[in-house]
């Protein structure tokens, strides 16, 4: 596998993969380790790359994060000091922080689906296959998650 291609994939998919790993593992450094491990294995030629890399990469990061979580005694809070997003220019002051807090407060299964769908750009079928649920279940989790996020952000705006 060409190293240049893998590096380009890292640049293109790395941010969404990192967000996903953080949604699963919690802290930024563990999440980054998980993502980098996946790509280092690709660079070392230890695993072949399938034709559709995006679902494969998210699955690989999920497996890596689950392995990491098994080895830990406690779950680290999702919202640590490292920012998860870069706010757009039109964002309000503090909106990025409120989004990150709201995301951290979602139930884990809703947070996972929202991240995969919204920032990972996976289809509901791909999300369903990855997390091991039916596509309708994935769609429901996405809907409930977004509704909670919207309500949470609207509430903090009023405050």
């Amino acid at each position: 596998m060409e190293r240049g291609l893998i590096r380009r994939m890292y640049e293109e998919h790395g941010p969404a993969l990192l967000l996903y790993a953080r949604a699963l593992a919690g802290d930024a450094s563990s999440a980054e380790d998980a993502v980098q491990q996946v790509f280092l294995r690709l660079l070392a030629g230890r695993v072949p790359l399938p034709e559709c890399p995006r679902p494969y990469l998210f699955r690989a990061v999920r497996n890596e994060s689950v392995t990491f979580l098994r080895g830990r005694d406690r779950v680290v809070a999702l919202a640590d000091a490292e920012p998860m997003f870069v706010a757009p220019p039109e964002a309000e002051e503090g909106e990025r922080e409120r989004l990150e807090e709201a995301l951290a407060e979602l139930p884990a299964e809703q947070r996972e689906v929202v991240v995969l769908r919204t920032w990972g750009d996976l289809t509901f079928e791909e999300v369903a296959e990855l997390v091991g649920v039916a596509p309708n279940t994935a769609a429901s989790r996405w809907r409930y998650g977004l509704e909670k996020l919207r309500a949470r952000l609207a509430r903090t705006e009023v405050e």
Binding site: Q36, R96, R117
Partner: protein, 115 residues
């Protein structure tokens, strides 16, 4: 559902931060490490060979005194034979000379000789 998709579009405006650069050198050992490992292996090999060589050199046992330092006695001597000549100094000296080499007093032109 349309309003949820609009909200999702707004969320997509927040771009996830990028991970750090890939530590590609992580799986590559620096050249000096190979040199250090080779040197350590050489030291171990030399130590093993040296230890093996040391084991083949015969070492005298402590309970057996070296025969090179002590020449053989010309005649056996015993306490009884020494008691017999105890009162006679000349006979005593002769008996002791017979039991040990004459390192200090050459007798009869024999000189100093180590057997």
């Amino acid at each position: 559902m349309d309003d949820l998709r609009e909200f999702e579009k707004r969320l997509k405006g927040f771009r996830p931060v990028a991970p750090g650069a890939l530590p590609e050198g992580r799986f590559r050992k620096p050249a000096w490490m190979f040199g250090a490992m080779a040197a350590a292996a050489a030291v171990v090999a030399v130590a093993v060979v040296a230890n093996g060589l040391l084991k083949t050199v015969p070492r005298p046992k402590l309970e057996e005194p070296s025969q090179a330092a002590l020449p053989r006695a010309k005649r056996e001597v015993s306490l009884a034979s020494l008691r017999r000549v105890a009162g006679d100094e000349a006979a005593l000296v002769a008996a002791l000379d017979a039991a040990s080499p004459r390192l200090l007093r050459p007798v009869g032109g024999e000189g100093m000789r180590v057997r």
